[in-house]
Symmetry: C2
Subunit: 457 residues, 2 copies
């Protein structure tokens, strides 16, 4: 518990945007991950960068752990205040400062909601491509801190690919500026690159300069239905192998299809074993060519191709995909969403591994995800009060991660390490990397106050 | 001077690949920048990563400054051993370890020559896009350490955009692994991002996993001649403003055109005030569309458009551009090549600034460069023994940098800071960023042995 005089200091900085009552604190004791409750001691919502700077300095002087939080949609425990301390909400810093259509960039504060930016950019005839599943709630700052992916990552890349510059405060309250408004810039260390996927451990970000791109002239969305999920996953490898890069290439297994259909009544084929959702975009002639090639590859594998003929039909298809997580979440009290990722050609092998492992441990699993990126989301439905089942869940996750690494993949494609995956990190990167990360963290935050203990640091 | 026993320890590690004679050391006392002679005490060329590790550990134990060097084509003094010590050549680590056409990546050692990789990749039907001007000599390790740009950066991005993973040794000799073979990966800090443009200050890189892309199906190159350079630069902004992204969009001023033509006899129009070299690529229909639009924009500004009709003609055009630097270098003993960069729409203003400043100080200047990126290369020809002129040169450079910053640009688009631009860095990034960089460097290399004093650190 913080002393009254300390709380008063926070109030001096942020006025009424300071919370210390238990019922308020509880709201920030969880994120979207499967994690234990971690109650902070104080929550503060600065509305100016000067306030951010003062809060950081106060936490530093008083050695208070400081956890930066956007919308809390994190899936790896990244925003859980495991050491208590202060939760700094970025949602008060929610201004889009500039959308430059000539030089195609946007400057936004960290608390801007991703879809708000996407809409504002789209209204000006441009595209901000990163579209994480949580984009209607998630903030740009959180997206950068986690290097969020999304449905369009296959062709357009992830959040980090759009970060041209970042402003942040380090743990001493120094204002750090990295990158900027030019498409090329090599002045000093690549600090905006370092802040990407830094998970709140290295500084408190306040502002981001983000690359925008022209909107595609044309696109085509299709739903492809398979009576055998493995044929869907082989299709994915064959499309990539044919040098076609769709904007989106998503997969859903039978269980997910059924669950989404029950929840959302979109008209999905509940008797299918798997489906692909594919969108190609670009120049109209290129789109027609790619569509024809993709269709032929799908049909060769036995897929039945349905093309969205209207914008409404297209929206309905993508709604189906975006509802996957929330639909699955309705079924059981605890949902564990993983994001092990493999090189794209290994998708069929990884699908088989997930199937074998989850059936070996008799678990309820829906698998969907960004198959085109090699990034699947096996989603385990369970109840954390069922300790016997939780043991099986843990074993299955261990084996899924081990399989991904064996296939030259990674334990996390887009959700990050946070507290949820900290214990697995060394198995992927080795002891030398962990030592290097510790030295890096220690050099920049010697008191270990910034989101302590995440990534095992 | 190193002791005999210390030299023997180096020889124990690297056998005959150790040099300590003055005439050998002199070969590594310069790079391609305008810098003072800096003679190392020892040069060593490891041929295995184990040897690299042992050399790093030896330097750490004995507190010997360690400068990693590829081909020495650096333009900012990045590889000058300003504190003497050991120069570690990466050229003995020159194996292309894997080219994976299915998952589209290459794994290469740091000493691989950029164009060797480009050719090997091209032979397999894929493209490694980054093509720095020095690619026939430069190494991949150097390209990553400097985040090298190139002619294709406008559409395809710079070296850093292709780094999926990097292996390196930190100053204690820890093996650090970051990133890997999947297109998405967020396991721990973005260390491969941090190593991009780290200029040898944070570790000794040995291996890189690089993204490859499909080759474009079609392309069109054109030469556009202007009787007024300003109209060429307005054309650049208009092409970008029309949402067209050519693969390449290069500019040359009258002085550079004349100099290249005198040196290379390619048939350039020596009476032109400026020219643009433009290539559009992609799907054949998109190429034809973009070509028609680009042609019309050029002609609206009074440009005369010549399209390369054969592959030979195309090669001749790009040879003209690639010869710009070497042709200018023939004219005077000292060449100072700058790379101040501005947001693309500010190119006409920046062109005017360069013209005004260099004429104010009566300097001989050829300007060419990646206009589409906002990245110009005003190249000052002088003689460093002429101290009076050198004072004017210095003032002109100060003013060029100040102009770039005023236009929301940067002092370095692609050459890095090294020793040449260290004194300008703070004017761009501010004191807080410098402090952060110092803490970062100190945490990872407390003895300041890795390429000491570069970036002012």
């Amino acid at each position: 518990m913080l002393s009254k005089s300390l709380i008063a200091k926070f109030a001096e900085i942020a006025g009424k945007n300071v919370w210390t009552e238990q019922e308020d604190l509880m709201c920030y004791a969880y994120d979207a991950s499967f994690g234990e409750m971690c109650v902070p001691e104080i929550v503060v919502k600065p509305e100016t960068t000067e306030q951010v700077c003062s809060i950081v300095k106060l936490c530093c002087e008083e050695s208070i752990p400081l956890v930066t939080r956007g919308a809390g949609t994190n899936l790896s425990g990244g925003t859980l205040p495991v050491n208590g301390g202060c939760v700094l909400l970025t949602t008060g810093l929610n201004k889009i400062l500039e959308i430059n259509t000539e030089d195609m960039y946007a400057v936004v504060q960290s608390g801007v909601v991703t879809s708000d930016l996407a809409l504002a950019v789209s209204a000006k005839g441009l595209l901000y491509p990163p579209d994480p599943g949580s984009m209607k709630m998630s903030t740009i700052g959180g997206n950068v801190a986690e290097n969020a992916g999304g449905l369009r990552a296959l062709k357009y890349g992830v959040t980090g690919d759009y970060v041209m510059g970042t402003k942040f405060f380090d743990m001493e309250g120094n204002a750090v500026i990295s990158g900027g408004k030019t498409v090329k810039m090599v002045t000093g260390f690549n600090l905006s690159g370092l802040m990407v996927s830094s998970e709140g451990l290295l500084g408190v970000m306040t502002e981001h300069t983000l690359k925008l791109v022209p909107q595609p002239q044309s696109s085509r969305s299709m739903l492809v239905i398979y009576d055998d999920l493995m044929k869907a996953s082989v299709t994915v490898s064959e499309i990539i192998g044919a040098r076609i890069t769709p904007a989106t290439l998503e997969l859903m297994d039978r269980f997910t299809i059924k669950t989404v259909e029950e929840a959302a009544k979109i008209g999905l084929p509940t008797d299918a074993d798997g489906l692909l959702l594919i969108e190609v975009d670009g120049h109209p002639a290129a789109v027609e060519d790619e569509y024809a090639k993709v269709k032929s590859i799908c049909e060769k594998q036995g897929g039945k191709v349905h093309v969205a003929e209207t914008p409404e039909e297209r929206d309905r298809l993508w709604e189906a995909r975006r509802k996957a997580l929330s639909s699955l979440a309705r079924l059981k009290p605890t949902l564990i969403l993983e994001d092990a990722t493999v090189p794209r050609s290994r998708i069929p092998e990884m699908m088989q591994c997930i199937k074998d492992i989850t059936s070996k441990y008799s678990l309820t699993v829906g698998t969907f995800g960004h198959a085109g990126d090699g990034n699947l989301h096996p989603t385990i439905l369970t109840d954390k009060r069922n300790t016997e089942e939780m043991l099986r869940v843990e074993k299955a996750i261990d084996e899924i991660f081990a399989s991904a690494l064996k296939l030259e993949g990674t334990i996390s494609g887009e959700h990050g390490i946070g507290s949820a995956k900290a214990k697995y990190l060394e198995s992927e990167v080795g002891a030398g990397t962990i030592r290097f990360m510790k030295k890096l963290k220690n050099g920049l935050d010697p008191k270990n106050l910034l989101n302590p203990h995440k990534m095992g640091l």
